[in-house]
Amino acid sequence: MTALRTEHRIVSVAPRRRVLIVTLICLAAAIIIALLGIIAGSSSLTIADAVRTLVGAGTPGQELIVIELRLPRVVAGLLVGAALGIAGALTQTFARNPLATPDILGVTSGASLGAVAAIVLAGGSYSVGAGLLSLGLPLVAVLGALISSAIVYGLAWRGGVDSYRLILIGIGATAALGGITSYLIAQAKITDATAAAQWLVGSLSGVSWASVWPVLVCLVVITPIALQQSTNLDLTQLGDEVSTSLGVAVQRHRLVVIVCAVVLTAAAVSASGPVEFVAFVAPQIARRLARAGRPPILAAGLVGAIIVTGGDALARGVLPGQVPVGIITAIIGAPYLIWLLTRRKERETL
């Protein structure tokens, strides 16, 4: 407490209007980044070429490059980023903790274990692995994500789920699942281990239109549900007791929010593998831009889309070789995490 300094922190602009403005700016930025993502890479396209091709007036050669090769990758980047950003905003808000990402619910570690098990065990003579892989890697990852997060939620249940206990159990589950994943990689054939390691980094290099659709469907279904929980998310910032007093069905609200975050994360991870730090960083950037009490949901999704698409464009257009986007986001995200932790002067609830 600085007793002598008469510092009056005034909340100036109407918060809702500021969130709206920030969201619109992020939307514009995401569109520009997407266009840059289409032209980034080896062949010589201009933004004008890209726009012309997108509206159906490009040459057949440009059409092949833009529509068939670049667009699925850019769209996947936008969708994966948006899904992770929204999932992160939801998790950080309900847990009232900026360090709580969907990873902590066991989603990512479960998806990773599923995918790695499918890759590694299919390489051997185990029928289990072949069976897993016949489902398709994305589906196995989704199953792993849903099962592990259901287990985490179930273990945290004691007549209701307390977010603190949920996080602690999630951290434990993440460590255990990570251990099993590491064991599978350690005893795998070298080619399988490489394939597994590549999947675990998170990359957009393997995406096609087929991997885009499930993420799109999840976003279209989940985003309105998440937005509908906005008021309740505002109220639960006051604590479970006050929000109960104000008529929020806290446990039901929390379950809805967790399911939204888990489904979005599972969809994103199944398309691209775990792209590190996006779910953690995007909501915090959006919150700071909007100077809001909690991460604004749509803006967080758009910042996530910008980070993943931009990171992938950076990897293709500027850096030599094929650097997976997961490496770029981790390189940006980790220093941001440290900066955030050293910068926090006062104990914030979010």
Binding site: E7, H8, R9, I10, V11, S12, P15, R96, T231, D234, L235, Q237, L238, G239, D240, E241, V242, T244, S245, L246, G247, V248, A249, R291, A292, G293, R294, E348, T349, L350
Partner: protein, 307 residues
Amino acid sequence: MSETPPDTAAQMVRPGTATGTATTGAATPALEARGITLAYDRSIVFEGLNLSIEAGKVTTLIGANGSGKSTLLKAFGRILQPSVGAVHLDGRPVRDFATREVARRLAILPQKPLTPSATSVRDLVSRGRHPHQRMLKPWTQRDTEVVDAALAATGLTELARRDAGSLSGGQLQRAWIALVLAQEAPTILLDEPTTFLDLSHQLDVLELVRSINRDRGATVVMVLHDLSLAGRYSDRLVLVGGGRVLADGPPWEVLTSDILRTAFDLDALVVPDPSSGTPLVVPALRPDSAPGFRWPERPSTLIGPQK
């Protein structure tokens, strides 16, 4: 979510509460615990407890640390579900109401609410309007008026645009009470509303509570630690301990030397408060207290209590 149309004007008026006349027996209690058992995990705090809270009065729960007074308040505020029995609100089991309907009738201010970051005082207080809002017409002119009135009643009009996180302890507690006022619930539960406040700010809060009771006819149930202040600001004291109600009645009946010795293991004199005439609890000097210590001498200029 099932919605019942809010009818706020009608809810504030309850039969038998408008006048100060004791209409015990006939009037429906605002809150009633019917044979409730309250437990955390396996440790039982209350078993088969019956307690009814008269509408339009200030009732204060007192008791030693760990006696379960906050637990009981949480059960009344539906934060803790009784494992056996039921809490009745305005004559009906709480469980029978839609959650937002309960919120329009009953507000609870917990001991440690979380102050949200980057939120103005007005924004914080406005959240109290949540139970009255509907899907299609979320914010009305009346909502604005109620929030303005709540800020004015708590003396926060000037601070309305300040960040809630920058308020002092006393101001913040008034902001939380303003939120409860904005909720317009006729029954208000306050869990130790004066904790962490200096004596002058404690009095501010308790005067505010009494004015809410007097001006709005609100039923107030609170938990207080300070027995003398509880005696001064309450119509009725309920002393709990050992899993049951040890004493229940007007302040002078509950705050007696005998009862205090049993409940708190405390030797105390109870004298009339020279200022208000309510019971003042003066802890007696313990016989073994600080041997050899020289108590400060009473200055000869000291005059007895005024009035």
